[in-house]
Structures are given as structure tokens and as C-alpha cells.
Amino acid sequence: MFHSHGTRRSNAAARSSASGGLEGGGVGSPAASSASEGSSFRPSASTFWLLLHGLCCLISLFLGFRFSRLIFVLLFSNTIYTYTTTTTTTITSTRTETLTVSFPLTHTPPIETAVKPNNSALELSDKMSNQGSSHSQVVVGRHGIRIRPWPHPDPTEVMRAHRIIERVQQEQRKWYGVKSPRPLIVITPTYARTFQALHLTGLIHCLRNVPYPVTWIVVEAGGVTNETASLLARSRVQFLHIPFHEKMPVEWAERHLTENRMRLLGLRVIRERNMDGIVLFADDSNVHSLDLFDEIQKVQWMGSVSVGILAHSGGPDRTLLTEDEKLNPPIPVQGPACNSSGHLIGWHTFNSIPYSEKSATFVGESATVLPGKMEWSGFVFNARMIWKEAEDGRPEWVKDLDKIGENGEEIESPLALVNDASFVEPLGDCGKKVMLWWMRVEARADSKFPPGWIIDPPLEIVVPAKRTPWQESDDLAGSKLEQDDRRFTRPKSRSSSKRKNTLPGQDN
């Protein structure tokens, strides 16, 4: 029985939905007529509806389908359902068929209103039903789609939601995260150069997201500079800015050694101040994953994690790999190697033989930059390991920090800090999980950058060159050219004799 009004509905859907309010009427009346066929206890009502239906058909012949219902709204509108779009309701009580009452809505704009119960319809169904059982407030049939007038997020609510999420995550950390987390001490060697702002900004954001207390020891080659100091001051991370007396050399080999000495200086600072926590070496150009900080909380004395080595130059050196290397590509990971029972047996190191002839020798050379044999960033240890007084439990396999480097020898890797490397704990599922990546991206040593990355004084206004790639733009489109110039925010390759920097939007 209800299939008929289903097709009726799809016909109505084909028409425009502008006066969608009246479409509901069409659904109502065949149901009403079928209701009248089904029920047999009010013959006068059924013939009345039948006559009404016939009248509607006649009117719709002349005025069109939708307007027939409009007549009845104007004539009989007493109680009206106010919905945002349209409504037809079929009110049913427990076991009886009731009349369907339809009061279509015309052109009210969408407003959020409460539903007013249609009292007359309920009374009608009350009279008709023999059982006086409770009526469901939920009605079957077509409902309006409620849309509020401004369906966009409210900023206060968004902030409240973020507070809730923060609280939930705090609770999650409490139950499932690291119990009694230790503070972190992060040692970073740096120096002022073009790419420093790039690297340090990434590192600062990473450290700000770490959920544990962080003390950041920044060792700067060449003494304390305003560049670094201003970056650190804005960082909102607790830091110690330590000057290092040498300048950073240009040769990569020398650089690695200088950085090692800077890190040792950082370790000595920890020793002097008896700082407590877990020591991590974060080079400013490395990329860290937040999982790393959760993982290193597990370290007892000295631990090692896997470092992904991203040493590609990205240049045209495609013939680097030999044939059998193409079959077994070298894994660019430096870290602990374990046997099947999870014990440390050795180290994976980066295979630098394929790159030996083509590696960069000085900073800014466009060739592959190779890492050292054993990167410091892959090692973490308990700060108590380097304290002066032998704390209870400090193992014997640790060398005293003062004895390292006293003869002037260079420290290649943190394994020089220990007598026996087999005591190092492999972290990150025995090195299988790579949580930080080493890469070296540097500009040429003599490249200039605006100090503090502030352009002061502002650049002069530049008039764009008239000669553009579009040859047809002569006097005909002379003004159009200027308009185009104003619109284009990125200057395309202009064939101008002088090349000046332009800021977006500062055209003619």
C-alpha cells in the first residue's frame, strides 16, 4: 500500500524543491485514502477525505499540483507544525490505523524552533483508538532537517573541547604511559648560520611537545650570538646557553670533531651542576619523533636507539649503487644489532663506501654529506652516570668523565665513555623501531641571511619590468598589464635587467 506514495514522492522529487513544503501534502493524501480503505469504522470520514482528494485533483488540473494544497492551508490553518523545511506526520498509536494529518509549511525561513504538538490530531487518534495505551512521542514519517542559523564552530567551545582532550590524554598517560617519568636533558651543538633558524625552530617545537620536563643545553660555537639568543628567548623551553670558544670549521671532518668537543662541554656542565635526568643528544638538524621521548624513559644507565641516516644528496648521482647493491639495498640505519634472544651483539653502521669518492668535504658543497661512524644522537644515558661522586649503583664499566679527553685525544663516539660496550641497552624494540633521523642540510658557508630574519629597513618599492613572457601585451593591454602585475603575488620569471627582491603585494 505504501509503495504507491513512494513513487509519488520520487516524482515530486524530480521537480524543483523550492516550494518543497507542499510536496508533503502529496504524500499525505494517498496515504489518507489508503487509510480510509483500511479502516472501516468511520465511513463518513473516509468519504469526506475521498471527496477532498477528488476536489484537490480537480484544482490541481487548473492551478497545478502544489497550489491545491495551498488553498487548504489558507482555509484550514489552525495549528501548524513549525519545522525548518517540511513535514508530514503519521501519528500511530499501538494497534490502530489513524488518519494522517498534513499541514504543509510554505515559506518561513529556516529557524530553530521547538516542535509544538499537534493537539487536534492527537485528540482524533485518541477517539479512534480503542485501547487507551500510551502514545510514543516519536513519530514515523518525514521529518524536517534541523539546521541552526549559524552552523559554524564557536571558538569558546572549541577551546573547551581542547581542554577536554588535554585532560583525557593526561589521564591516558597516567594509566598507560610511563610511570614516574624522569626529566630530560637535551644537548645541542649549534652555531649561527643561514639554516640555523630552520633547524632550531623544528627542534624547539618538538621539545615543546614533549610531555616531560626538559632542560635544553645549547652549546654555541664561536661564543654566544644574538641570533641564537633571540631564537632561544622566544622558545619557551627551559634552556642553558653555553658558549664554546672555537668557531665552527668549514670542513666536515673537522666539524664532526668540534661538535664532539661541544657535546663533551655540555656533559661537563651537567656534571658540575649535578643535573638529574636522562641525557639526549639532539643535533639541531635532526628530526625526532615523539615516540622517542617515551622510549628513552626506559633506559637504566646507557641506551642506544636506531638512527635513520638520510644522506642522499638528491643530486644527479643515480649511478651510486652497484648491481648487487641494487638487489640488497644498503639499509641507512645506524643502531644496535641484537641476536634472537634480544641481547646486544654489535652495531649497524652506515655503509659509506659507495659514497667515499663523492662525499662532501666542506659545508655547502653539493655532494652527499656523510655521518660519522657512530652518531652521538643514537645514544642516551642516565645523567647520574657522569656525576663526580660515584652514586650508589653507578656501574664500573663507566669511565670517569674527567679522564676522557685529558690527553687531547679526539672522542669519536660516546662508546668512548664506557669501558665495556656490551652493557649498553638496546632500545626501541632492539633497534627495530627508528624514531629519529639524521640529516645534514646546510647552505654555503658564505651565504648571507637577514640577521634575526627581520628585513630592516624595508625593501624599496620595485617597479616590475614591462617585458613579460606575454608578448602580445603592448599598449592595448597596458593597463591590464599593471592589473595583472598587481594580481600576481609570485613574480614569474621576469626578464628584467636588475633582479630585486619583491615582497608579495608590493607591486605597482
Binding site: 505504501f2 520520487s10 522529487a13 524543491s17 518543497g20 523545511t85 517540511t86 503519521t90 500511530t92 499501538t94 494497534r95 490505523e97 530553530e112 521547538a114 516542535v115 500510551s134 502514545h135 510514543s136 512521542q137 516519536v138 514515523v140 514519517g141 518525514r142 521529518h143 524536517g144 532537517i145 534541523r146 539546521i147 541552526r148 552552523p151 559554524h152 564552530p153 564557536d154 567551545e157 572549541v158 573547551r160 573541547a161 581542554r163 577536554i164 582532550i165 585532560r167 583525557v168 590524554q169 589521564e171 591516558q172 598517560r173 594509566w175 598507560y176 604511559g177 617515551d294
Partner: protein
């Protein structure tokens, strides 16, 4: 003598208080509904169920014909049968049974697309009842009042997918006195009988376990939902499907960054639920959906948008304390409602959801485990015992009218 007893009692109470104080620090919380702390009750020993041996055409033959019946959300009827056959509550002696189970699969006639056709279901059920009434005396003894049936379809024993038709048909007359175990539940609705047991829809437990992530993964999505907002095939303009509630959710919150809602079904659906604080469970064509089960298993607070819905095992599980109920008319202010829930309330709901007995109660694992949905159904049946004296008919007394209902139902199957 009395003084010593008092001292001992004091010491004992002190010893008891300590673990209670410690329990308050756990990340789960005990669940007790209106029937009490019944989720962990063991039904064995509290009731006896006799399983009728029906011919293959009522059950096994249907599954053999189409094995998709075993994986869709209506598979409860099949797994309940299998569970009862090997359960400790089963008795082979019908004289001592408290409940009688008729294993008839009424939801196993599938279209090529996998949707069950309900058109023959009333006849199948009628035929099964007639078989039972003719071959055993227990049906006529009570006219079915101590029998129970599993009817997991959209609107239960009304046997139709379209709500208007289902209401018109009403519950099959012959099931008037029996207990129905069904997924559909809505207050004051024709298709929910007094005394029915509402159960969750079947969701494959192994599939969900395979996608579990570590509980320390931070929950960073505020509200999550994946599913249809408009059913374009059957209701293109909207307004019928979900009583307009799903369309309202879309129109109001599609541009809200807190709401991760879309019709796209990603392969990380289960993992994403575990990264969400709230999961929407709005009604569709019927008020229930497997989303509730998924939300409970993955610890995401369900936001129920379905007026008057009756949730599974409503007397054993205090859903008001666990889920968030939003009236359909309040959907446009859903963001205000959800963001104004105090954080302690949210944390408590998460603790209740973390309770493993809560998750177990929503699942139908194979083989059955203690505290799972099968056991909750038996617990529900046990709580209805003992049967009222008046249930047993006097000889010659008849209550059911075997010719009631639409003419089409009376055709034999």
C-alpha cells in the same frame, strides 16, 4: 567474648576498607545496572533450557545455502543456537526445563546484495511453531509463555524493514506470549514487547581484536562518525532516513574541526575510533546499529541520537552513566552539549567503558566465554524466573488465535 568479637570485626573492616580505597585508583570501575551488579553472574545452575530438534530446513539448510548469514549483523540467531547446543544450561529432559528454545533462522534469506528479505519470515516462524506445537506438548501447555525466540531483524518480530509496514503488521500474533530476544528496542513501540530482552547486534570479535592499538595512543579526535547522512537510494531528499537526524548532523557540523564525520569508510576505521573521545551512534532506518558495540569495545564514549531507544541489556548495564544521550531535536546544539560535559564525568565514563566485563557483554565470541553476550541473555532469562503460576493454562484453555494476522502469513511454508 563479645568485646573480642568487636575488636576482630573492627580489624576486619579496616582490612576491607584498604582494598576499596585502592580500587578507587584503578582505571576501570564496576558496573551495576538497575538489576544490580549482574554482569558477572553465572547462569549455569540458575536455569535449564531445552533446545527443540527442528528439521534441517529451519536452520542448517539455510546456512548451507548462503554462508553469508554467519557474518552479517543478524548472525546472533545462528550463534545462539550453536552456543546453546553445547552449553551447560542445556538439558535433554524437557520436563525439567525452565525455558524452551526454537532454533529457527528467520533472517537468512538474503538478496544478492546481502540484505535479508523478511517476506517469508512470518511463514517460516509460523511453520516452526506449528511443528513444535504438534510434536511436543510444551507449547500448548503455556501457549508459548515459557518459550523464547531470537528475532534479530530490523524491527524484531514485526518482520519488516520498513518502519511503517512493521508497525502495521505488529508482532506476529503467535509470539504474543513468548519472550523475544531481539536487537530492536524503542519505548512505546509496537515492535517491542513487554519483557523482551534487547541484545547488541552481532559484530565479529576477531575482526575488532585484530585492529586494537596500544591504549597509550592519545585520543586526539573529539567526535568521530563514519556512515551515511543521506540515504540517496531510498530517501534522496532526506527527512525520512534517520528522521532527519543524520542529515542535521552533517549540515550543522560539516565545517567543524572537532567533528571528524564523513561517509568515507577508511581502512583505519577501528583504529580511528580508538583515537576518539566521542563516537556518534545516530539512528538509521532502525534505531540500533553495530556502532554501539564498536564504540564500547574501543573505549569511545557512544553518543546516542535516537529518541526512546532501549539499549542492550538495559537492566544490567546503566547506560545513562556510560553513554551520552542527545535528543533528536537537540542535534543542532550537539557541540555545545558535548563540550559542556565536565571532564570528571567524561573520565568516569571512560573508566566504566574500560571495564573488561562491559566489553565482554557486548560480544558474541566463538567459543563462548564467561560474561559474554550469550551469558547475559541467559542471565536475563534467569531473572525472569520463576514463571508466574497463571502462565500455565488449564486443560482446554486457549489464548492464541491461530488464524490471526495477514492472510499471506497463513500460507504454509
Amino acid at each position: 567474648m563479645g568485646k573480642e568479637i568487636w575488636v576482630v570485626a573492627l580489624l576486619l573492616s579496616q582490612a576491607l576498607l584498604l582494598p576499596i580505597a585502592q580500587a578507587a585508583e584503578l582505571h576501570t570501575e564496576r558496573i551495576s545496572g538497575s538489576a544490580g551488579d549482574v554482569l558477572e553472574d553465572d547462569p549455569v545452575g540458575r536455569l535449564k533450557v531445552f533446545v527443540y530438534n527442528l528439521p534441517r530446513k529451519y536452520n542448517k539448510k539455510m546456512v548451507d545455502k548462503d554462508s553469508r548469514c554467519l557474518t552479517h549483523m543478524f548472525a546472533t540467531e545462528i550463534f545462539m543456537h550453536r552456543f546453546l547446543l553445547s552449553s551447560a544450561v542445556r538439558t535433554l529432559d524437557p520436563e525439567e526445563a525452565d525455558w524452551f528454545y526454537t532454533p529457527v533462522y528467520t533472517t537468512c534469506d538474503l538478496t544478492p546484495g546481502g540484505h535479508p528479505l523478511p517476506f517469508k519470515s512470518p511463514r517460516i516462524m509460523r511453520s516452526a511453531i506449528q511443528y513444535v506445537a504438534m510434536n511436543w506438548p510444551y507449547w500448548n501447555r503455556t501457549d508459548g509463555a515459557d518459550h523464547f525466540f531470537v528475532t534479530p531483524h530490523d524491527f524484531g518480530a514485526c518482520f519488516h524493514y520498513q518502519e511503517e509496514t512493521a508497525i502495521q503488521r505488529g508482532i506476529l500474533h503467535l509470539l504474543k506470549r513468548a519472550t523475544l530476544v531481539q536487537t530492536f528496542g524503542q519505548r512505546n513501540h509496537v515492535c517491542l514487547k513487554e519483557g523482551s530482552i534487547t541484545v547488541p547486534p552481532y559484530a565479529p570479535p576477531q575482526k575488532m581484536q585484530a585492529h586494537l592499538v596500544s591504549p597509550s595512543t592519545p585520543r586526539s579526535i573529539f567526535v568521530y562518525f563514519r556512515g551515511l547522512f543521506y540515504d540517496v537510494n531510498n530517501d534522496p531528499e532526506g527527512g525520512y532516513y534517520a528522521r532527519g537526524a543524520r542529515a542535521s548532523v552533517w549540515e550543522n557540523f560539516k565545517s567543524n574541526p572537532l567533528f571528524d564525520i564523513s561517509t568515507d569508510h577508511p581502512p583505519t576505521y577501528y583504529e580511528d575510533m580508538q583515537r576518539s573521545v566521542f563516537c556518534l551512534c545516530p539512528l538509521g532506518w532502525a534505531p540500533w546499529s553495530p556502532r554501539l558495540v564498536e564504540a564500547v569495545v574501543f573505549g569511545c564514549i557512544p553518543v546516542i541520537i535516537a529518541d526512546d531507544i532501549v539499549l542492550p541489556f538495559a537492566d544490567a548495564i546503566p547506560w545513562e552513566e556510560i553513554a551520552v544521550f542527545v535528543a533528536e531535536k537537540d542535534v543542532p546544539s550537539l557541540d555545545t552539549i558535548l563540550t559542556s560535559i565536565p571532564a570528571e564525568v567524561i573520565l568516569r565514563k571512560q573508566r566504566l567503558l574500560a571495564n573488561p566485563s562491559m566489553k565482554q557483554a557486548m560480544l558474541f565470541p566463538q567459543p563462548a566465554q564467561a560474561g559474554d553476550a550469550f551469558h547475559q541473555i541467559l542471565n536475563g532469562l534467569a531473572r525472569k524466573l520463576p514463571h508466574d503460576r497463571r502462565v500455565y493454562l488449564k486443560p482446554g484453555e486457549k489464548v492464541l488465535n491461530w488464524t490471526a494476522g495477514p492472510i499471506g502469513d497463513l500460507k504454509p511454508w
